[in-house]
């Protein structure tokens, strides 16, 4: 049971960390996007 909870935690960590790692490469697009939407 404990092992499954640990694995569940690891998978949650992977979910968050890999999503952030992927999204990180697009940070340079934030400013052009805001300009496109007329918010900057």
């Amino acid at each position: 049971m404990n092992k499954k909870r640990v694995l569940n935690g690891v998978l949650w960590f992977w979910a968050v960390a890999s999503t952030l790692a992927y999204a990180h490469q697009f940070q340079g697009f934030v400013r052009p996007l805001l300009e496109l939407l007329g918010l900057s």
């Binding site: 998978l11 979910a15 890999s18 992927y22 496109l36």
Partner: protein, 606 residues
Amino acid sequence: MLRIDGDLQAGEHWALSFAIGFGVLGWLVFPVGVSGFLSEGPLTVLLSAGALAAVLLRRTGAFFKPPRPDAVGWVLLVLLGLVFVFDLMEGLAPPADADTLAYHFAVPKQFLDAGRIDFILQPLNGAVPFGVQMTYIPAMALGSEMAVTLWTMVSGWATAALLFVLSRRHLGFNWSLAAALVFLTTPAVIYGGGSGHVETRIALFVMVAAWATVRAIQTSQTNYAVLAGLGAGFFAAAKYTGLLFAAVSGLVVVIQRRWLKNGTLFGAAMLVAGFQWYAWNVLHTGDPVFPMLFQWLGRDDLALWPKAHDLFFKEWYFGSENPLPKTMPWLFLFPFKATLFPQVLPDAGRVGLGPFGLLVLPFAALGVWRFRDKVHRSPLLVYAALAFLFYVTWFFGGGSQRLRHLVPILPLFLICMTVAAGRLTEKGRYRGPLLAVVAATIFIQLAGHGVFAINYFKFLAGGADRQAFLMRNVNSYVAVPWINTNLTKSDRIFIQQRQLKFYLSVPSLFGSSMQAVVELRPEKTNLRTLYRQLRYVGITHLLLTNSQNERNGVYSRVMNLLDRAGCLVLLGRFEGKRILSRTLPTLSLSPHTLDLLRLKDESCLK
């Protein structure tokens, strides 16, 4: 004809029929074009015959069993509807993608204008398999420009439909919808699905081949081997990398009891479906896969593509298209590099395969491990083998590391990953993080698709001003209206911007290393040679980038030879902005000056 209909659900019947019909249409246009009958009449007969033959597809019994979606299913359907609206807006706008304007649409237009398929002695954009582009010709001839853009939209969605129905063999309704949604919003599919790019449509052929290969192995029936061969052959007829897929799918087909008979029939069907463009290349150059084997098989008498230039071109092209070493470590690191740090790769990032593979990886790996005793009996092992073997052969043997070249096998990858991850969570365990990564993928990709669609929304909301849209989206388009108004069919303009070709109504020549008729390497030419070569191909005008900061003149080193000799007369100057991204126009908007010049008569050489 293959008597496989009894094996199919209604959705499979229609989606597979579209895929095969799509390949057959491209195949049939080739003989019509080569015979010189590319005009409205013959193409109307061809399409009418196909439409009438579709009656034969009529099935007895229930046409379609309507699903009963739950709340999640409805959410996914609404999101798919949103994606449909995004794609429809793109389909209603003029084409603006550079490759599409340079050849995916420009070559069919060129063939239609000529009334026949002519051989174009040019690598990448000319002497390549055009199986998919052949399906654009009837739409272009009988409809309009919009008919072609809507056709690419429909055929892109057909791929998602086939992915959905094949997923249903292994997944529930919601997971199948999610797989289709992930596919449609994958950056490389957003980029290529609605434009003239072929990869999204080739995925149709890959799924036909994969599904038929599974059935051939399960049943040992020859009709499935034939169908698998047709799928692989249609891929080969659409892109050189189809030869790699044909090789790996042929390998998988022969791993079964009736390997000789099924393998022979697979090979025969593959050859019939795929041979046309390779034979066309052999006939004109000696090299079936021009220019890859040209240095050994190519003809020596081709003044337009001498062997010395061939070697120069390949050194330049393969060097620039393959930034990562083709080694075993990079074989496994490449997907991570392409997903997380794609900057060095051509096209990756904004035209990548999205985060799904990375995010779902541990779930899929654990799912495979949990059911490791059953994996070898799963039909999905064939899908996984085809996708993996194609990836390996592409990585080591492909000509370019552009990630979108993997889009044809993306549906197989999505099905395998989704099934493996889904199995892990069947009993409710680990469902939370899996749903989170699928939701994150859909959210990120859908947001990207929404941003991509703003450009088209602005076009439609702004009264569909075509000229304004093209000025905003096509590099150097600013000069096109003047050229089309002031030059005639008897002129020919030298351009350095290949994406202008589709919109120019006068003959043009794209000056690049993809052609050898006008030598553009400064160390290999001189004023007289350059002038003579330009005149030989009928050049009367040139559209050149004016780089005011160049130390030795305003144009490129070669074109400065003409300028200094007084062989160029300035007719017009156009100020524009170089567009790095159509989606995010303010990403980079550097000023761009173009000079429209007339080539003077020979007296300037004296």
